[in-house]
C-alpha cells in the first residue's frame, strides 16, 4: 500500500506535538511495510536531504516538499509576520490564501505521484488533501490532532478555520481523531457521523536514557523540589492555572520551584501573573527546549503537570513518564484516556491540583508508585501500536473503496 501523506515538520524542527506525532506515525507505518510519500512545506534551511538522514534507518519513506510559508500552528497573525520578512512574492498575502496556494500545488504534485490513499494531518493541510483527492480520485483520510475549539478554548472561534476543518472532515472518506475526547468534540461541534471517526491514540518512542543533568541538580539543592510545565504558552495549555496552583502549593511547601518550558503568545502575561501572585522567585521560565535539554528537564523534575483547558492528546505526558517522572494531568485531555497510573484533575480545580502536587512532593512512596507504574504503562503505548491501528483504518477505507469500484 502506498500513502500520500501531508504532514508537518519533524523533530528537531518542530514546535510542538504535531511534528512528533507525524514522525512517530510515519516511522511506525513504514515499519509495517507501508510506502509513504511525505509532503511538507519547504522551509529555508531544511531540505529533504536532511529528512533522509533522520530516516536513514527506514526504507519506504520518500519526501516531497512544496515551497510554502505554512507551518504547524500557523495563525493569521503569525503568518503575516513571516510573510513580511519574506522577499519573494509567490506566497499568499494572508494565511488562507497560502493554504489555497498550497492546495493548488498539492493538486499538481498528486498528478505526478503514485499512491493508493491520501492522509492529511490537521486543518492547514486539509485543503491539500482535498485537492489531491480531486486530482487522483483516491480516498482521503483526515487526521485531527486539534480543533479550533481546543485552540481557542471555545471562545472567538475563527469561522474560516472552522469551515475548513468541517469541510475536510465531511468530504474525507474517514476521520482519525487522536482521542475519544477529540472524537466527542468532532461529533458535537462539527456534526460529523461518529461511525466515520476512528480513534488512534498518540504514543511515544522510548528513548535510551541519556546522561543525567548535573547542572540542573543545582536547582534541587537543600531538598528543593521541581514541578514542571512543558507546552506552548497559550490559553489552550492552561499555564495560568499552573501558576495559580503554584501559589497554593507554596503556602504549604516553600521549597518548590515551578519550571515553565515553552514559548507562546501568553508568555508576557504569564510572567506578569507570577509577579502579581508574588511568586516570581519560585517560577523559572526556561523558554523553548528540545532534545537533550528537554530530556534533562524531564529527568530533574519531581512532577510533570499538564493543566490543559482542552487537550486533544498531550504527548509531553508520555515523554515525561518515559523519562521516569510521574504526571498530574488534566481530565480535559486525550492522554487521560490511555493512562491509569497518573493523577488526574479538572483543570479549573486549583485546590485539587495543589492538593495533589503537595502530596506527590511530600509522600515518597506515592511518587515511587506513580513513577514505576507510569513508566511500565507508557512502554505499552508505542508508535508501532498506533501505526497498527492506523493501518487498520487504511484497510477499511481501501476495502470500502474497492467494493464501491466493483459496484460502479
Amino acid at each position: 500500500m502506498k500513502v500520500l501523506m501531508f504532514g508537518w515538520e519533524f523533530p528537531p524542527h518542530n514546535s510542538g506535538g504535531l511534528g512528533v506525532a507525524c514522525a512517530g506515525l510515519a516511522r511506525g507505518l513504514a515499519n509495517r511495510g507501508i510506502g509513504i510519500t511525505f509532503v511538507l512545506p519547504k522551509k529555508v534551511g531544511v531540505s529533504a536531504d536532511f529528512l533522509k538522514i533522520i530516516f536513514a534507518d527506514i526504507s519506504g519513506i520518500k519526501f516531497r516538499e512544496i515551497d510554502s510559508l505554512l507551518s504547524a500552528y500557523a495563525t493569521s497573525v503569525s503568518y503575516r509576520e513571516i510573510r513580511s520578512r519574506t522577499v519573494s512574492s509567490i506566497y499568499g498575502k494572508g494565511l488562507f490564501e497560502e493554504v489555497m496556494r498550497y492546495a493548488l500545488r498539492a493538486y499538481h504534485l498528486a498528478k505526478e505521484e503514485d499512491f493508493d490513499l491520501i492522509h492529511a494531518h490537521d486543518w492547514l493541510s486539509f485543503g491539500a488533501g482535498l485537492a489531491a483527492k480531486a486530482a487522483s480520485g483516491k480516498p482521503l483520510i483526515v487526521h485531527v490532532h486539534a480543533t479550533e475549539f481546543d485552540r481557542t478554548g471555545g471562545m472567538n472561534i475563527n469561522k474560516r478555520v472552522y469551515e475548513i476543518e468541517k469541510e475536510g472532515m465531511e468530504k474525507a472518506d474517514a476521520v482519525i481523531a487522536v482521542s475519544q475526547f477529540t472524537k466527542n468534540i468532532i461529533v458535537r461541534h462539527y456534526g460529523i457521523d461518529p461511525n466515520k471517526i476512528n480513534v488512534v491514540h498518540n504514543a511515544v518512542d522510548i528513548f535510551e536514557p541519556g546522561h543525567f543533568a548535573s547542572e540542573l541538580l543545582e536547582l534541587k539543592r537543600d531538598g528543593r523540589k521541581i514541578v514542571l510545565f512543558v507546552g506552548r504558552i497559550t490559553l489552550q495549555k492552561g499555564p495560568d492555572y499552573f501558576l495559580q496552583a503554584a501559589k497554593k502549593v507554596l503556602e504549604y511547601n516553600s521549597r518548590v520551584l515551578f519550571l515553565v518550558v515553552g514559548s507562546g503568545d501568553m508568555e508576557r502575561q504569564l510572567i506578569e501573573q507570577a509577579s502579581s501572585l508574588g511568586i516570581s522567585d519560585k517560577v523559572l521560565f526556561a523558554g523553548f527546549l528540545r532534545d537533550q535539554e528537554l530530556a534533562k528537564v524531564y529527568r530533574v523534575a519531581d512532577l510533570y503537570v499538564l493543566p490543559s483547558v482542552s487537550e486533544p492528546f498531550g504527548i509531553t505526558t508520555l515523554e515525561s513518564l518515559a523519562h521516569g517522572t510521574p504526571v498530574l494531568i488534566s481530565r480535559q485531555s486525550g492522554v487521560a484516556e490511555v493512562l491509569s497510573h497518573a493523577l488526574k484533575v479538572d483543570f479549573w480545580d486549583i485546590d485539587e491540583m495543589a492538593n495533589k502536587i503537595v502530596s506527590v512532593l511530600a509522600y515518597a512512596p506515592l511518587h515511587a508508585c506513580l513513577r514505576e507504574n507510569g513508566n511500565t504503562e507508557v512502554k505499552k503505548l508505542s508508535w508501532g501500536r498506533s501505526a497498527e491501528q492506523c493501518s487498520g483504518v487504511y484497510n477499511e477505507v481501501m476495502l470500502r473503496e474497492r467494493a464501491h469500484t466493483v459496484i460502479a
Partner: protein, 420 residues
C-alpha cells in the same frame, strides 16, 4: 454426609472522605463524607441494606422456619455493627431476630433466646490486619468484638475467623490460646496440595483447635460466577449446585461455603435470580438423604481432624494470589501500614478515646485494599470495589489523615507536659 456449612461475612468499612492537604490540622472528622460519591458511608450502608441485607435476612428467616435442618453462620465486623446502630437500626434488628428466635421451636409467641442454628463467629472488631503488626492490639480487638457479640446476640463465639481469611500456623496457635475451638481459612490449592478442603484439619503446632477450609470452587461458583454468562455452567440452578455438593459424598465430610453476605443482592443483583437460587437451595440439598447442614461449631464437634495441616506462610481469600498482596504489595501500602502501627504506643499512652477510636478505624483492611495498584489498569475487581478514583487518591487521603493524627498526638503530649 456431606454436611454443608454456610458462613457469611458481613462488613462495611468506614471509608475516609476526600481528605486534602488543607484539612490537616483543621478537620478531625475523617469518615463523615456527605457527598453523592461512594465515600459516603451512610449512603452505601443504606443502599446495601436495601438491596442485600434486608431481603436476604428475610429469606433466611423464612428458610430457617421452613427447614428445621437448615443452619447458617455469620461474622459481622464491629465497624459494621457500629454503622448499623447509627444509620440502620432496623437492619440490626433483623440480624438479631435471625440469631435470637428459633421459630420452629417456639409455639405461639416468638421467644427470645439463642437460636442454635445461627452461629455468630468472632473476628477483629475493626476488620483489621492487626495480627500482622501487633499481638496486643490484635487481642484487644478480638476482646472488643467478643463483648459486642455477647451483648447483641447473647451467644459466646467459639469459632474465630481473621480478616479476609488471613491465616497461618501462628494465628491458629494464638487463637487457640484465646480459647477458641475452631478457626476458618481459605482452602487454597497452594497450601492444600493434593489434600481436600472437605475435611477438618488440625493446624500445625496446636493441641485442640480445628481448622475449617473454604471450598473455594463451590463457594466462588455462587459468589463470583453465578451471573457470568461466559461461564460454561451458566445458568447455575439450585438442583445443579445441590448435585455438585452431593458429589462430595464419600470424599469428604463437610463442604464449607464461605462468602461475602453482599453476594446476595449487591454483588449478584436481584435480577440475576440469586434470591430465588438461595430460596430453593436448602430443599434441593436436603433432597439427597445423606446431606445435611452444620454450623462451624457443630462441624468441629461432629468430625475429627483427619490430618495436621502446616501453613507457615499467610494465606487469604483475596485475588488469584490468595496471599497478602491485596493489602501489602506496593510501597504506598507498606508505608501507610508502618506509619499507622508506629503510632501504637503514643496512641495508647495518650489515653484519649476519640484518638484511639480513629486510630483503630484506620486499621480496617479496606483502606489498604483501596491503595492496591496490582491489576488496577486492567479494570478488575479492585477497581469495582474502589470508591476512590485511583489507588493514588486513596493513599493521598489516608496519608493526610495520618498526618493529622500525628498532630493530634503531639498536641495531647504537649498539653500533658504543660500540666506536669
Amino acid at each position: 454426609m456431606p454436611s454443608v456449612c454456610f458462613y457469611f461475612q458481613v462488613h462495611q468499612p468506614l471509608r475516609i472522605k476526600k481528605y486534602r492537604i488543607f484539612d490537616i490540622g483543621n478537620d478531625h472528622k475523617y469518615f463523615n463524607d456527605h457527598s453523592e460519591t461512594n465515600l459516603n458511608n451512610r449512603k452505601i450502608l443504606e443502599k446495601v441494606a436495601y438491596k442485600s441485607y434486608l431481603p436476604t435476612n428475610a429469606i433466611l428467616l423464612d428458610l430457617l422456619k421452613r427447614y428445621p435442618q437448615f443452619k447458617v453462620s455469620f461474622s459481622l465486623s464491629g465497624v459494621f455493627l457500629d454503622q448499623l446502630e447509627h444509620y440502620a437500626p432496623e437492619v440490626l434488628d433483623s440480624f438479631q431476630k435471625l440469631a435470637h428466635v428459633d421459630e420452629t421451636r417456639s409455639s405461639g409467641a416468638a421467644r427470645i433466646g439463642v437460636n442454635p442454628r445461627v452461629e455468630i463467629l468472632d473476628e477483629t472488631y475493626y476488620h483489621s490486619l492487626a495480627f500482622l503488626h501487633s499481638r496486643a492490639e490484635f487481642r484487644k480487638q478480638v476482646d472488643l468484638h467478643r463483648e459486642r457479640i455477647i451483648d447483641l446476640f447473647h451467644q459466646e463465639p467459639k469459632v474465630f475467623r481473621n480478616t479476609e481469611l488471613i491465616y497461618n500456623n501462628e494465628l491458629a496457635k494464638e487463637v487457640e490460646r484465646l480459647g477458641y475451638t475452631g478457626i476458618l481459612a481459605e482452602g487454597a490449592d497452594h497450601v492444600l496440595g493434593w489434600q481436600s478442603p472437605n475435611f477438618i484439619y488440625r493446624p500445625k503446632g496446636t493441641e485442640r483447635i480445628k481448622l475449617l477450609l473454604k471450598n473455594y470452587r463451590l463457594s466462588d461458583d455462587i459468589a463470583f460466577r453465578f451471573s457470568s454468562r461466559d461461564w460454561s455452567e451458566y445458568p447455575l440452578t439450585a438442583p445443579k449446585f445441590a448435585d455438585w455438593v452431593s458429589a462430595v459424598n464419600g470424599n469428604g465430610t463437610v463442604v464449607n461455603l464461605f462468602m461475602d453476605y453482599e453476594t446476595f443482592g449487591e454483588h449478584q443483583w436481584e435480577d440475576t435470580g440469586i434470591f430465588n437460587f438461595l430460596r430453593a437451595l436448602p430443599e434441593e440439598i436436603l433432597k439427597h438423604p445423606d446431606n445435611n447442614f452444620v454450623t462451624p461449631s457443630e462441624a468441629i464437634h461432629k468430625y475429627p481432624a483427619v490430618a495436621e495441616l502446616d501453613i507457615p506462610h499467610f494465606v487469604s481469600w483475596a485475588d488469584v494470589e490468595r496471599d497478602l498482596s491485596a493489602w501489602l504489595s506496593n510501597p504506598m501500602q507498606h508505608d501507610a501500614m508502618r506509619k499507622l502501627y508506629d503510632m501504637e504506643r503514643d496512641v495508647i499512652e495518650a489515653k484519649n478515646d476519640e484518638l484511639l477510636e480513629d486510630w483503630r478505624r484506620l486499621q480496617t483492611s479496606d483502606h489498604f485494599y483501596y491503595m492496591c495498584t496490582k491489576w488496577f489498569a486492567d479494570g478488575d475487581v479492585h477497581k469495582y470495589f474502589n470508591p476512590y478514583e485511583s489507588p493514588y487518591e486513596a493513599f493521598i487521603a489516608y496519608a493526610n489523615v495520618l498526618h493529622d493524627l500525628k498532630l493530634r498526638i503531639d498536641d495531647i503530649k504537649r498539653s500533658k507536659e504543660n500540666m506536669a
